[in-house]
């Protein structure tokens, strides 16, 4: 079976699973549809919250942001910002909103300060937060669908939007906890399986979180090797390259934390468990499930970066010939998210930090996770699984 066929089969099977679950859980009355959530176990609710929370941006984009454009340490702002914001939400906001009996922050602010003006200001803030969030999701949807359908990015984006729209509106499935749980399982399986494979390949350590701090086959530490290799290519060190300045890093992290704390679709999840006490425990479980992906992401980022460099330059000075470039390379060129330009006309690809010499002219952050298993030469079913995970996250 070819890769394309395998991908269609696995993606098709995962979609079928969500639809079946959705149909089965819709068996009850309309009223049950809305309040059924109240009887959900905290662990199950935590899993559903995690799926709701980790959408396309976390699954598809984050590791690429960390590994490529933020060059390692600089990308920590996303890891700490998004999970740190979740802590504020779970400790300081959601339990109190629930106690107060309001579903959203603007409602609470309007009532608490007896002011419609305050309420409008809160709504505007919320819209800005949510639109920013949706832009990220849409980019992820475009990338996932353009690769899946083997089209250019724009076509992928529009077909993806249509599918997501029908999925969310017609089925009303997004609200169903058990579909979310199924999506979480597909998503986390798809994220961790390739990471485990790659960690084993590079370091012999099956747990990617530990693999990141382990040694490679040549006896040097993975992170040290990456630091050195990047310095040789003219980049900054992976483990210390700050984004902007320390002040910028702190402000960036803090703003991501605060923005995250207000996301309405996560707050609503605290209303689907029986008591406030259960809501607090459920928040902890949600973070456990989120952390599985968030602590794997930095390992994926570093390992994929190293793999890309070693594909392009297996030995120092020995660059990959354009004609010999692997299939994944050509697949991604189709989407327009990866591009080469033979500037010095030697028929080989030189990757460098210097824009004058760099011949890997386009390397979109968002392809890192999806291309990762192909870069590491993993079997077809793993590549297909990642595609299914990317689509699960996008829904």
């Amino acid at each position: 079976m070819t890769l394309t066929e395998t991908t269609y089969w696995i993606v098709g099977a995962s979609f079928l699973l969500y639809i079946l679950i959705a149909i089965r859980s819709r068996a009850g009355t309309t009223q049950e549809f809305y309040v059924a959530g109240k009887g959900i176990h905290p662990v199950a609710n935590g899993m559903a919250t995690a799926a709701d929370w980790m959408s396309a941006a976390s699954f598809i984009s984050m590791a690429g942001l960390i590994g490529l454009s933020y060059n390692g340490y600089g990308g920590s702002v996303f890891l700490m910002g998004w999970t740190g914001g979740y802590v504020i939400l779970a400790m300081l906001i959601a339990p109190y909103l629930r106690k107060y009996g309001k579903f959203t922050v603007p409602e609470f602010i309007g009532d608490r300060y007896y002011s419609d003006t305050a309420r409008v200001v809160a709504v505007i803030c919320l819209i800005i937060c949510s639109v920013t969030y949706v832009i990220g999701q849409m980019k992820g949807i475009g990338v996932a669908f353009s690769r899946f359908l083997e089209t250019d990015y724009e076509t992928g984006l529009f077909s993806g939007m249509v599918i997501v729209f029908f999925y969310a509106v017609l089925g009303g499935m997004k609200g169903i906890t058990y579909t979310q749980i199924a999506q979480f399982c597909v998503l986390i399986f798809a994220y961790t399986v390739p990471a485990i494979f790659i960690s084993l390949q590079l370091t012999g350590q099956p747990i990617p979180q530990l693999g990141l701090g382990s040694t490679l086959a040549d006896g040097s530490y993975l992170l040290e090797k990456l630091d050195r290799t990047l310095l040789d290519l003219g980049f900054q060190e992976y483990t210390t390259s700050v984004r902007g300045s320390t002040l910028n890093m702190a402000a960036f992290t803090a703003s991501l934390m605060i923005g995250t704390a207000g996301l309405p679709h996560v707050i609503i999840r605290f209303f689907t468990v029986p008591t406030v006490r259960a809501a607090r425990t459920s928040a902890g479980w949600a973070l456990v499930f989120i952390a599985i992906l968030y602590t794997t992401a930095p390992a994926v980022a570093a390992m994929a970066r190293l793999n890309i460099i070693q594909t392009l330059e297996p030995q120092p000075g020995q660059h990959l010939a354009i004609e010999e470039r692997p299939t994944w390379f050509k697949n991604w060129e189709q989407t327009g998210l990866l591009g080469i330009e033979d500037k010095n006309a030697d028929g080989r690809i030189q990757y460098s930090a210097d824009p004058e010499q760099n011949e890997l002219v386009t390397l979109d952050n968002d392809i890192l996770v999806l291309a990762n298993p192909e870069i590491a030469n993993l079997p077809n079913w793993v590549i297909a699984l990642v595609a299914a995970g990317g689509l699960a996250a996008a829904l």
Partner: protein
């Protein structure tokens, strides 16, 4: 059930609640913005396995600590509500 000392109970509840929020908030700040950003350079001098410590906090340690914080808060509040008889009944 009528409780004569409701306001006193509430005051204890809020005082304890605020105290724990402060303690956990300080830890929250220390591991993320502290160890992960502000003091990352000195911490990077310490190497554990293949990790520089500051880098580890920024990409791994802070997240593990966050999980512990939420569970500690949930546990503390549950115990407090039980002690003060403020437990919610399931609806």
């Amino acid at each position: 059930m009528e409780q004569p000392d409701t306001s006193a109970v509430r005051e204890i509840y809020w005082r304890e609640n605020r105290r724990w929020m402060l303690i956990l908030g300080v830890i929250w700040f220390t591991v993320s913005l502290g160890c992960g950003v502000l003091w990352v350079e000195p911490l990077n001098q310490i190497q554990i396995g293949g990790f520089k410590l500051g880098f580890w906090f920024a990409q791994q340690g802070a997240i593990y600590t966050f999980i512990v914080l939420i569970f500690v808060y949930a546990g503390v509040m549950a115990r407090l509500e039980k002690r003060l008889g403020l437990e919610e009944t399931e609806v």
